[in-house]
C-alpha cells in the first residue's frame, strides 16, 4: 500500500493552520464554559441571598493558593516556549515538567477541598450554588487533567528530538491551551470564592 504523504509541504502553512485551529478550538471551549457561566448568572440573579450565604463555605485560602499555583505554571509555560524557540530542549522540558507538577499540586488541593466539602455533607445536589460550584470546578479540573496529558505528550516529542528552534509548533500550541486553562480559573476564583 503506497501511503501518500500527508505532511505539510510548507512549514509556514502548517504553523498558520495549527494556530488558527487552536484558536478556533479555544473559542469552542469558551462557549462550553460560557453556558455554565450563563447558568451561574441566571441563578445568581434569582437567588442572591443564597449565593451570598453559601459562598462563605468555600475555603478562600485554598482557592488563593491554587490561583497562585496556576499563574506560576502559566509563567513556566512562557519560559518553556521561549526556551525551545532558542533551541534549548532540556530547559524546555524542565519548564513544562514543572508545569505538570504544579498542575498536580492544583488537583491535590482541589481534591482536599472536595473531600472537605463531602465531610461536611455538601454535595452537588445540596443546593444550586454548590451544583454550579461542582460543575464549574469539575469541568475545569477535567481540563487541567487533559492539559497535563497534552503537555506530557509535547515533552515526549521533545525527548524524541522532534522539537527544535525551527519547529516548535506543538510547544506553542499546547502552551496556548494551558494559558486558557489558567484563564478560566482566574474567572472562577473570584466568581465563586470572593464575590459576596
Amino acid at each position: 500500500m503506497s501511503e501518500p504523504s500527508h505532511e505539510h509541504a510548507d512549514p509556514a502553512v502548517a504553523f498558520e493552520s495549527a494556530k488558527l485551529g487552536v484558536w478556533t478550538f479555544l473559542a469552542t471551549e469558551v462557549l462550553l464554559f460560557g453556558a455554565l457561566f450563563t447558568a451561574y448568572t441566571v441563578f445568581r440573579m434569582k437567588y442572591p441571598e443564597m449565593f451570598r450565604a453559601e459562598h462563605e463555605k468555600l475555603d478562600r485560602v485554598l482557592g488563593a493558593v491554587n490561583t497562585v499555583v496556576l499563574i506560576t505554571s502559566s509563567l513556566l509555560v512562557v519560559f518553556g516556549v521561549d526556551a525551545i524557540k532558542r533551541g534549548k530542549a532540556r530547559l524546555f522540558e524542565a519548564c513544562f515538567g514543572a508545569t505538570i507538577l504544579l498542575a498536580g499540586v492544583f488537583l491535590c488541593v482541589k481534591y482536599a477541598e472536595y473531600t472537605a466539602k463531602f465531610h461536611h455533607g455538601i454535595y452537588p445536589r445540596t443546593n444550586l450554588f454548590f451544583s454550579i460550584y461542582f460543575m464549574l470546578t469539575g469541568l475545569h479540573g477535567i481540563h487541567v487533567l487533559l492539559g497535563m496529558g497534552v503537555l506530557s505528550y509535547v515533552i515526549l516529542l521533545s525527548r524524541r528530538g522532534r522539537l527544535s528552534a525551527s519547529y516548535y509548533t506543538p510547544a506553542e500550541m499546547s502552551g496556548l491551551y494551558w494559558h486558557f486553562v489558567d484563564l478560566v480559573w482566574i474567572y472562577l476564583f473570584p466568581l465563586l470564592y470572593l464575590i459576596g
Binding site: S2, P4, H6, G21, L32, L36, A39, P124, L139
Partner: protein, 536 residues
C-alpha cells in the same frame, strides 16, 4: 501536525478506491475515503430512521392504538426523530459530501488536519455505538429531551447524553478542520470570491457547528449530572429552571437547522447553473446570505418556546427576529430562480432533485411564518402542522439537496454512472409520495390534530390514511433510488472525468480522483460559474 501533501507531488496514478481491505479504510487519512465512510454510515441511519417512520405511519392508519402500545409509539417517534437529526441530517452533507468535496473544490490535496479528520470519524462512530447501547432502555422523551421528564424517565437518558456529546464533539472537530482548510489551503488564485458556493455554505455551516455545538454539549452534560449527582439546574423542586434547559437546547438546535440546510443550499447553488448553462445570478448575494443566515440563526432560538412562559417582551423580540431570517433565505431563492430564467435547462436527475428542493423548501418556508408568529403559533403549536412544516424543510429541503448532491457527484466519487431512467423514475415516486404524505399533515394540523399521539379522533381518519399510503410510495421511491445506486456501483458505465461539463475544480481531477487529488495543484484564474460562454 499533519496536513496537505507536497505541492510538487505527482499523483500515484491510482484512483483513491484502489486499495482494498478494511485497514485501508479504517486507518485512512484520505479525506475522500473518510467522506465515503460517513456517507455509508449516515445512509444506513437514514434507512433505519425511515423504518421507524413507516412504523409510525402504520400505527396511524387507525384511530386506536392497534399495533403497538402507546409507550412503544413514544419510543418509535423518539428514535425516528433523534436518529434522523443527530445521526443523519446533521452529519450527512457536512461530514460526508463536505469531506469528500472541500479539498477537491478548493484545489487542495487534503483537509488541514487529516489525522484529526479520521479521529472525528471514529469519535462519531463511538457516539453512535453508545447511542445504540442506550437502546437497552429505549428513549421515550422525544428528540428534544425536555426536562424535567428526561431527568426522571426510566430510559437510558444518561447513556444517550454521552452518545450525543460524542457526536457533537465529532461535529466540532470536523467544523474546525473545515474552517482551517478553507482559510489556509486554497489553491493559488482561489480567492474568496472565486470559491464555489458549496464552499461558502460549508464555511457558514462550520462556524455554526463550532459555535453552537459546545453549548448543547454542556446541556447534555448537565442533564447527565442531574441524573447522576442530582444537581438541580433544571429541576423546579430544587429551585432550578426547566426553561433554562429549553434555552440551552434551542440555542444549539435552532442554528442546527441551518447546519442541516446551508450545505444543501450550497449543493443546489452548484447544480442549478450547470444544468441551466448559465452563470449563477447574484453570486455575492448567495455567498453572503449564507453568512447572514448563520449569524441571525443564533438570535432566534426563542421561537420554539412561545408557549413555555417566557416574558411577553422576549416573545415579541424572538418573533420579530424570526421573520428576519426569511430575508437572506428569500435572497437565495430569488437568485436561483433568476439563474433558471431563460437558461437552457435540462432535467437530469441532479437537477430534478435541485428543483424539488426549491419547490418543497418554498412550501416549508412559507409555512414557517405561521409558526414564527406568536398568534398563530399558539394555535398550531404541537400539531401536525409543525410536523408537516419541518418535514418540508428538513426532508424536502435537506434530504432532496442531499439526493441532488449524490446524483451529481456519484460519477466523481465512484467513477461510474447511474442509470438515468431509473433515477428519474425513483425521483417521480419520491416526489409524489412526499407530497401526499406530508401535505395532508398540514391539513390535519390546521384542523387540530396534535402530534406525538398514537391515537387520534376519528375525524382525522381520512388524512391519516392518505398520509400513510403516501409514505409507502415515498419509501418505494427511496428503495428504487438506493437500488439504482448499488447497481451503478456494481456495473454502471465508466464515468468520464466531467460528465456534466461543469467548471469547478473537482471535475478537473480524474473520476474517481487519485489519492492526492490533482497531478498538479491547479492555478485558478476565474470563478467557477462562467457557463454559457464559449468555453462551456
Amino acid at each position: 501536525m499533519t496536513g496537505v501533501g507536497r505541492p510538487e507531488a505527482e499523483g500515484n496514478g491510482r484512483g483513491y478506491l484502489a486499495d482494498r481491505g478494511w485497514r485501508s479504510w479504517a486507518f485512512t487519512l484520505d479525506h475522500k475515503r473518510i467522506g465515503a465512510m460517513y456517507l455509508w454510515t449516515t445512509t444506513v441511519f437514514f434507512l433505519i430512521g425511515g423504518v421507524f417512520a413507516l412504523l409510525l405511519r402504520l400505527e396511524l392508519l387507525s384511530p386506536q392504538a392497534r399495533y403497538f402500545s402507546n409507550h412503544a409509539y413514544n419510543v418509535f417517534f423518539t428514535l425516528h426523530g433523534a436518529m434522523m437529526i443527530f445521526l443523519f441530517v446533521i452529519p450527512a452533507i457536512p461530514s460526508g459530501l463536505g469531506n469528500f468535496l472541500i479539498p477537491l473544490h478548493i484545489g487542495a490535496r487534503d483537509v488541514a488536519f487529516p489525522r484529526l479528520n479520521l479521529a472525528s470519524y471514529w469519535v462519531f462512530a463511538a457516539g453512535f455505538l453508545v447511542i445504540i447501547g442506550s437502546l437497552v432502555a429505549p428513549m421515550d422523551t422525544g428528540w428534544t429531551f425536555y426536562t424535567p421528564y428526561s431527568a426522571k424517565s426510566a430510559a437510558a437518558v444518561t447513556t444517550l447524553s454521552l452518545g450525543i456529546f460524542l457526536i457533537g464533539m465529532s461535529s466540532i472537530l470536523t467544523g474546525l478542520n473545515f474552517i482551517v482548510t478553507i482559510h489556509k489551503l486554497r489553491a493559488p488564485g482561489m480567492t474568496w470570491h472565486r470559491l464555489p458556493l458549496f464552499i461558502w455554505g460549508m464555511y457558514a455551516t462550520s462556524i455554526i457547528q463550532v459555535v453552537a455545538t459546545p453549548v448543547v454539549g454542556v446541556t447534555f452534560l448537565l442533564l447527565a449530572a442531574e441524573r447522576i449527582f442530582g444537581v438541580g439546574f433544571f429541576d423546579p423542586t430544587k429551585g432550578g429552571d426547566p426553561v433554562l434547559f429549553q434555552h440551552f437546547f434551542w440555542f444549539y438546535s435552532h442554528p442546527v437547522v441551518y447546519v442541516m440546510i446551508l450545505p444543501a443550499m450550497g449543493i443546489v447553488s452548484e447544480v442549478i447553473p450547470v444544468f441551466s448553462r448559465k452563470p449563477i445570478f447574484g453570486y455575492k448575494a448567495i455567498a453572503y446570505s449564507s453568512m447572514a443566515i448563520a449569524f441571525i440563526g443564533f438570535l432566534v432560538w426563542g421561537h420554539h418556546m412561545f408557549t413555555s412562559g417566557m416574558s411577553p417582551l422576549a416573545n415579541k423580540i424572538f418573533s420579530f427576529l424570526t421573520f428576519f431570517v426569511a430575508v437572506p433565505t428569500a435572497v437565495k431563492v430569488f437568485n436561483w430562480i433568476a439563474t433558471l430564467y431563460r437558461g437552457s435547462i435540462t432535467f437530469e436527475s441532479p437537477m430534478l432533485y435541485a428543483l424539488t428542493f426549491i419547490f418543497l423548501f418554498i412550501v416549508g418556508g412559507l409555512t414557517g411564518p405561521f409558526l414564527g408568529a406568536m398568534a398563530t403559533n399558539v394555535q398550531l403549536h404541537d400539531t401536525y402542522f409543525v410536523v408537516a412544516h419541518f418535514h418540508y424543510t428538513m426532508m424536502g429541503g435537506t434530504v432532496m439537496g442531499f439526493f441532488a448532491g449524490l446524483h451529481y457527484w456519484f460519477p466523481k466519487m465512484t467513477g461510474k454512472m447511474v442509470n438515468e431512467k431509473v433515477a428519474r423514475a425513483a425521483w417521480a415516486l419520491i416526489f409524489v409520495g412526499f407530497n401526499v404524505t406530508f401535505f395532508t399533515m398540514f391539513i390535519a394540523g390546521t384542523r387540530g390534530m396534535p402530534r406525538r399521539y398514537a391515537e387520534y379522533l376519528p375525524k382525522f381518519q381520512v388524512e391519516n390514511t392518505i398520509s400513510s399510503i403516501g409514505s409507502a410510495v415515498l419509501a418505494a421511491g427511496i428503495l428504487v433510488m438506493c437500488w439504482n445506486f448499488l447497481q451503478g456501483l456494481r456495473k454502471g458505465a465508466a464515468a468520464p472525468a466531467n460528465p456534466w461539463r461543469a467548471l469547478s475544480l473537482e471535475w478537473k481531477a480524474a473520476s474517481p480522483p487519485e489519492t492526492e487529488n490533482f497531478h498538479e495543484i491547479p492555478v485558478v484564474t476565474e470563478w467557477p460559474y462562467g457557463y454559457g460562454t464559449p468555453k462551456a
